[in-house]
Amino acid sequence: MKGRVLDDALLLLSESDNVGTTVDDLGSGTEVDFDGRTVVLSENVPFGHKVAVESFSAGDEVRKYGEVIGTATQAIAAGEWVHTHNCESTRGRGDRAAAGGETA
């Protein structure tokens, strides 16, 4: 596997990432050691989903694969599940253009 697995629980695909991917279904309270820091899951997170390994303010970039995959839509604490409820794409947003009256 590319990247680094933390505590057999979270896969960090690139060192600059601020989210990790679960390598199994993880329960709330699971503790993951991240370079001496402990990230505690604040909710159940299913296999393949993302967990914040740092805290985010609304508008912060979310990084996976060493690349930006979206922005946080609200504050996210380390250990929280990161998904469509608190992270959104910045691409293909015809809805925004339509709301702004920019499309024909």
């Binding site: 930006v68 995959i69 293909g92 499309t103």
Partner: protein, 395 residues
């Protein structure tokens, strides 16, 4: 290197890994007859039914015609029957001529001339028998792995796709390209958010500009329709599988093509080069239409990665299903050929890539894939829509 497989060498020099007789309707008006005539004949006859071609705007019709000719010219096709009602914009003769230009044995069937459905089914059966006799003269002979055009696709993705299955198939693509073959991946909407990485790998400015322009055009469709791309990408299954945004999906998706330089980008269903290295194709992300684009371009074998468990195949090219999700493998191994979920137990990407590559050679040699075994042969042609034609005209 110097790995080989056994295939059917065609008059145009390309090598097929199957020896099907294709039954190609020029329009929806001949689709049902084509399917029926192929079904009655047996597994060697493969219909490609579709819903287009009676009366389309010019650009859309040209694309339909290119796909139909490309399907018939695919080296997996030993002979082709082209079927029309007899009043279509796309004529059977025109499609048949393009197929026969490569040396493929071809016949046409016009339903109106035959005298209707029942008569066309009976005449079609006779013509198919003759074509099959012709096709059966071909014998497998040794061919070099560099003669393979390997199309790769992903569908029903989840987070494991970008971590396990796609990089593993990418490793197989790297092996093939190193050996001199062609690997092709497509699905332009799934370049969005990762196009800078692909652009950096393009061999020249022309390829880079074309790539970026195609990504803009696909992204622009969401704007044109005044909606959020999230209505289509990522899909509900992608999201349930942990993929949050199109950027995340794309970054995982592009790894299925491996790591070699991008040598070109073909239009939908345009001919893919043999011995061409890594070549992209501009297709929608809609799996069935995308696979058909690459098969029309000449891909003999497709690898299709899936996280959630897509089961689709293709009538002309064998489709190798690869999953990186251990749970999907456990649940749906009847529909999947390669388990890449072993990456989560510690198998290296390279080692899984080697298994994918070996499977590719075995399938090229004739081993049936799960979707072939079950005759899962989904087929659809991407239709250029009025909005796209207008966007092009306005550009």
């Amino acid at each position: 290197m110097g790995q080989s497989f056994s295939g059917y060498r065609r008059p145009d020099g390309r090598v097929g890994v199957r020896n099907h007789v294709a039954v190609v309707p020029t329009s929806v008006a001949a689709a049902a007859v084509s399917s029926a005539v192929a079904d009655d004949a047996g597994a060697w006859a493969r219909a490609t039914p579709h819903q287009l071609g009676t009366s389309q705007p010019d650009a859309a019709r040209r694309q339909t015609e290119r796909v139909l000719a490309g399907v018939g010219r695919n080296p997996n096709v030993g002979a082709a029957l082209v079927v029309e009602l007899g009043t279509e914009d796309i004529t059977a003769d025109a499609v048949a001529d393009r197929i026969a230009a490569g040396g493929t044995a071809t016949e046409t069937l016009t339903i109106r001339e035959a005298g209707g459905t029942a008569a066309a089914l009976s005449e079609g059966a006779d013509r198919l028998d003759r074509l099959n006799e012709e096709a059966q003269r071909a014998r497998r002979e040794e061919a070099d792995v560099s003669e393979l055009v390997f199309g790769v696709e992903c569908g029903g993705s989840d987070a494991t796709s970008g971590i396990a299955a796609n990089p593993a198939v990418g490793a197989a693509c790297d092996r093939l390209v190193e050996a001199g073959g062609t690997a092709c991946f497509s699905e332009t909407p799934e370049f969005i958010g990762a196009e800078h990485i692909l652009a950096d790998r393009c061999v020249d400015d022309e390829t880079r500009d074309k790539l970026l322009e195609r990504v803009d055009a696909r992204e622009g469709m969401a704007e044109l329709m005044g909606v959020d791309l999230r209505g289509a990408q990522p899909t509900p299954g992608n999201q349930e599988g942990g993929l949050t945004t199109i950027e995340e999906k794309s970054l995982g998706a592009i790894s299925k093509g491996g790591t070699t330089p991008v040598r070109g980008i073909a239009d939908y269903a345009e001919d893919l080069p043999v011995g061409g290295g890594l070549t992209l194709m501009d297709t929608p992300g809609y799996d069935v239409e995308s696979v058909v684009g690459k098969v029309s371009g000449g891909a003999q074998v497709i690898a299709f990665t899936t996280g959630r468990g897509s089961t689709t195949g293709n009538p002309i090219a064998p489709v190798i299903k690869v999953t990186g999700n251990p749970k999907t493998w456990e649940k749906m191994s009847n529909n999947i050929d390669v388990n890449a979920g072993t990456v989560f137990d510690g198998e290296s990407i390279d080692s899984v890539g080697e298994r994918v590559f070996e499977t590719l050679l075995e399938v090229a040699d004739g081993r049936q894939t799960e979707s072939e075994h079950r005759r899962l042969e989904e087929f659809a042609i991407n239709e250029i829509q009025p909005e796209e034609l207008e966007a092009e005209a306005g550009a």
